[in-house]
Symmetry: C2
């Protein structure tokens, strides 16, 4: 696990340090020297006596004690070196740049070597980054063999990446937009520590005074979703902001699941659910991540009302489109204050929002506009200033005003500077003041929308509804593997407090008639036994009289695999469904939506990660495209939302108590304005998860 020796070592050795700076062992040493590492720096290389001006040991055995080892030698020699350093040199942190380990597809040896290393490091309670990584970059030491090296600033972004090259490419893009970084971690094969462990460390050591508030993650594989969820949401609750790319969404989509709700719950749905629960802003590429990070680096955005200030109409219109199509408001401004502002601008200007102060607009006018918006336009939460140049004159004065106002304004100001060629000098001066800029207004608009529309983390302590835990455990512990019996389903629903249609399971015609009369006609009859009941003619609706009950009993009891007949009252309402599905490593995904074509054709399903808080369930229901139907549309009766919410909460509690439930479908539930009732349910139990 991460320790002081890794983050702030007093001494570093580059094992395999080289004079050839075109090799990782040479370049990492050069980067360390260039970064003016303050501690002791050692090099080992069997063939050299001095490397890049540093005295070189021919063997690690000749070294003094050393905190951190950066290893850039052939894979086969790494385990012995690590063991030696750990045992004899008190080395407690290792960054292994070398490749040739578990990343080699089908290579058993690579994995064995890697396991040996982990064991050596774990034995001394040490920290291991890699192997097969580019290293780490902190204000204390630049232990990467790559370029570019960004400007390091304790309040810059922390970048944690599952891919070294991707980290480099993210830096390339970010640096040019003025983004600063506090540290960069490339976890490589994550033999001991992956992105999750670094996030955990960030959470456990978070200090609002000196820690970075912004974390950027590039993840290809979430191995420890619970750890990521716990610490990411904890960091966000402490005031941090986290944006992440989880690559591989399309591969996940191809892993088709078999059951009909399960088919929609690919692990990418789980990733989405996890990010939403944690409050992580999900991004889909490098530029996207950088843009969201750039939004994060500005003042706190406190609402969804944006003023667009521009000297050019076109970009302001395109940004208006992007924002308002994504639910961000560009409120019409018309007030005594706005009339006063208009008087101070050239004739033909508009302050209605977008605020257009014309191609001839000046730096002074920009300052006046920003002051008005900041101080007098209470309805506005943030500003975007779009200012480029057609090249008639330099615009240093404009960007200077912009920089000054960004310092003093209470509201965030996002600068779009489109003339990156013609006003290159001016943009560079702006960046040299520590500023970040956006070259494209639509890219900014999309990032701003992502941030505005992201969710807050779920509460830390989720209160589960009262359910009969003891009874649930009894039923589950007594149940066989696989789909449990109708009686057990009833018992579990009752114990969880999930309302269900009254029903009876009968084995004789007389029992059937008696049950039908007790439940109240008309009734529904279903076979017990066959899995796909409809397909075998095992479901009959709306049986209105005793004769019908008798006739159907005689027919249905003969259907293959049928052991009994289930009777329920014939109910009406909107078809809903709620499901739970066990997702390996993630726990239970809870799914909800309208039934039938809404799920099958429109894929209109909301997903959350159990256990769910009431606020999460409400936002799941409201995120459905068919939410209007739940509310009641075209004069049709809607669904009691509180009762629907309650059922989802109880289901989430049920699977928490009975994690052996790998699949649970309430399908359909029938929802009306006065009640929501489960009509059919399937529960699949496995103890092998």
């Amino acid at each position: 696990m991460i320790n002081k020796q890794l983050i702030d070592p007093q001494s570093i050795v580059v094992v395999g340090g080289s004079n050839n700076i075109h090799k990782p062992g040479g370049k990492v040493l050069k980067n360390l020297i260039d970064s003016k590492f303050k501690g002791d720096l050692y090099v080992t290389n069997p063939k050299e006596v001095s490397v890049q001006g540093i005295k070189c040991c021919q063997s690690p055995g000749d070294l003094p004690e050393v905190d951190l080892a950066i290893i850039a030698i052939a894979a086969e020699f790494v385990p012995a070196t690590v063991e030696l350093l750990a045992q004899l040199k008190n080395t407690r942190a290792f960054i292994i740049l070398s490749a040739g380990f578990s990343e080699l597809e089908g290579s058993v040896e690579g994995k064995i070597l890697e396991d040996e290393i982990v064991e050596s490091v774990n034995r001394v309670n040490g920290a291991l980054i890699g192997p097969n990584c580019i290293g780490i970059l902190t204000p204390n030491h630049h232990s990467v063999f790559t370029l570019p090296i960004p400007k390091l600033d304790v309040k810059g972004c922390t970048l944690i990446s599952g891919s070294g090259a991707t980290a480099c490419f993210i830096l390339e893009s970010g640096i040019q937009k003025g983004l600063t970084f506090s540290s960069v971690f490339s976890v490589g094969n994550s033999a001991q520590m992956g992105v999750e462990e670094i996030v955990k460390y960030m959470d456990e050591t978070y200090d609002p005074e000196i820690s970075s508030d912004i974390k950027l993650l590039y993840i290809e594989n979430i191995d420890k979703p619970e750890m990521l969820l716990k610490h990411a949401s904890s960091l966000i609750r402490k005031g941090c902001k986290i944006a992440a790319v989880k690559a591989g969404s399309s591969e996940a989509g191809s892993r088709a699941a078999s059951s009909h709700t399960g088919a929609l719950a690919s692990s990418d749905v789980a990733v989405d659910a996890l990010f939403k629960k944690a409050g992580i802003v999900r991004c889909y590429g490098r530029d996207d991540l950088i843009s969201v990070a750039s939004v994060f680096m500005h003042k706190e955005l406190k609402g969804k009302n944006v003023a667009i200030i521009s000297h050019a109409g076109g970009p302001a219109v395109m940004l208006t489109d992007t924002l308002s199509n994504n639910g961000i408001n560009i409120p019409h401004i018309d007030s005594p204050a706005s009339k006063k502002l208009l008087e101070q601008l050239f004739p033909g200007s508009s302050v209605a929002n977008p605020i257009d102060f014309l191609a001839t607009g000046t730096a002074e006018q920009l300052g006046i506009i920003i002051d008005f918006v900041d101080e007098k336009f209470d309805e506005i939460d943030a500003m975007v200033v779009i200012f480029g140049t057609p090249g008639l004159f330099k615009i240093f004065d404009v960007y200077q005003v912009l920089d000054e106002k960004m310092k003093t304004a209470k509201k965030p100001i996002y600068p779009v500077l489109p003339s990156t060629l013609t006003a290159r000098d001016e943009v560079e001066e702006f960046l040299s003041k520590g500023r970040i800029f956006f070259p494209d207004e639509v890219t900014l608009g999309n990032a701003l929308a992502r941030v505005c529309n992201s969710t807050k983390p779920a509460p830390k302590d989720i209160k589960l509804p009262d359910i009969d835990r003891k009874l649930i455990r009894e039923i589950i512990d007594g149940a066989d593997e696989g789909y449990v019996s109708p009686t057990e389903v009833q018992g579990l629903l009752d114990a969880a407090g999930i309302p269900r249609a009254g029903e009876a399971v009968v084995k004789t015609k007389d029992e059937a008639v008696e049950a039908a009369q007790k439940l109240g006609l008309p009734v529904v009859m279903k076979v017990v036994g066959p899995v796909h009941k409809s397909d075998v003619g095992g479901v009959v609706l709306n049986i209105k009289d005793v004769k019908g009950v008798e006739r159907e009993f005689d027919r249905m009891i003969k259907i293959k695999d049928t052991t009994a007949i289930l009777l329920q009252p014939m109910l009406s309402g909107i078809e809903l469904f709620v499901g739970a599905k066990h997702e390996p490593k993630f726990g239970h995904l809870i799914l909800c939506g309208l039934g039938g074509i809404f799920i099958e054709v429109f894929k209109d399903v909301a997903a959350g990660l159990a256990p769910l808080d009431k606020s999460e369930v409400k936002s799941m229901i409201r995120s459905l495209k068919s939410y209007k139907i739940i509310q009641g549309v075209r004069g049709q009766e809607g669904v009691d939302e509180e009762k629907f919410t309650d059922i989802i909460l109880r289901l989430s509690a049920l699977v928490s108590v009975a994690p052996e439930i790998i699949e649970l479908d309430l399908n359909p539930l029938l929802g009306r304005a006065d009640k929501v009732v489960a009509v059919d349910a399937r529960i699949n139990v496995s103890r092998k998860i």
Copy 2:
């Protein structure tokens, strides 16, 4: 209209030419001089005798004859100057940079001045660009007062922009990615010529040998949709590619229409329909437009199967996600040829697609991979090569191989070069060879998907189905303004060959009984007269016997405004709707979809611009999210797609013959596997359009 004097003038005068290059009149002259304009260059300025080394006339009256005048003087003096030049100096082309005309909100004088100018120019059949524009840029002359000036190349992109500043900002972004331009037109206030007229000119003068094949449009207002549609689709049929940003989509969305299908047909729907019909790729921002243009500038993409070649896993995964989430395939590659390729790469490489040749991959290997994909992997249509550097060594050799292979390969190769900082020199050398690059793989992926998923232009000559034009005209000419009578509706549907439920309109109880027996019980009864029939209890379904018919007749005939009762057979099927709505300037939008909640809750509507070709209707129907329901889902009967298509085609023909129909709803149509029948229809006629 555009003429030779505008595009290729023998002489140019800058009216208001200045020594101050920070003024438009100074800067445009400097740009002209810098561009080494080959013809005669004159300047007028009352206060100067020489401007930027050119002899200056104090008054336009002192000039010799001159082809093109670029005018940069105060608005009030422009009309007289234009009239003088047109009448006395044989000037036939005008570019008016000056502002102060119709763009000033609420300024009557500005509009009057502008109208005077247009009259003067039109009287001599001249060409006018502007006023209030940045000018035009052609290989012959650089008549803009702005920067940047891109590299001009006859086979580069033509940029036509409704906003001067936006044109500049598009150039800023494009130039840095290596995009070249053949010409740039800023139309300003479009007093005589807007984007549409320039496109028309491009179409009418298109010469495959010397014309640019790529047109980029930035449009804020489509004033002449028919002209744009005609010439844009004509250009595309000739082999051109057009991408366009139409800004202002969100404003349009706020213009709420009143009728229930109409509410979904905002003019932005019309823009979408026009672009689709023309084959224009719609973009939503500058970067988006530049990315699509960059895709266009590569070899023709002939399919949807892409190979991703990379030395870094992360970007390849993100690109795979983006492409496959947008319907582009990254086919798994596994063939004898791919095995041979694998042998030539370093151990650990993968050729399964993405083709990953590792961080250590060489230029030579890249060349081998490209050759294999180009020549031996028949299933692949295009390649994306992602290659950056972690900075260990220079990668000139890689980009040189890439450039060479891009020349010789039959398949398009899109280069993603992410190391724009660390490999800046290498990227610049690559660009110096005339290459274009993509800095971000996801941005490329989205652009590639836009291009792949765009539609072909509709056929030039659309064959309308056979309908009874004479009868339609008779009915329409005889109809009152407003909603036409049920009899007229029936007549129009019959004349258009649109099947409708048999029906009868009756005024007495006896007639009602007779009609019900003739149509066949059960029947539906509806009041004639009230507009919102359901709201007044004026619709009764499923009346099963004569008694019921009698009872309902007695009740319904008393409902307010009721003049008669309509009887129809009770039909079943999937509720569909087809509508037509007259959209000012655009003509008729045809809308189709499933009825009820599918349109109201899911907004699942497809739109096309009349007259529609069969291929367009098919693609409209297939673009519906609910298309699976039309096909038949969950064992339920679907809808005869041919018959549904035919109805939409006939409706499109009907409004072409009767353009006075401002609104027409077939809602519902009932669709089954054997027939589709209109059950209710409303037709609204206006002669004021």
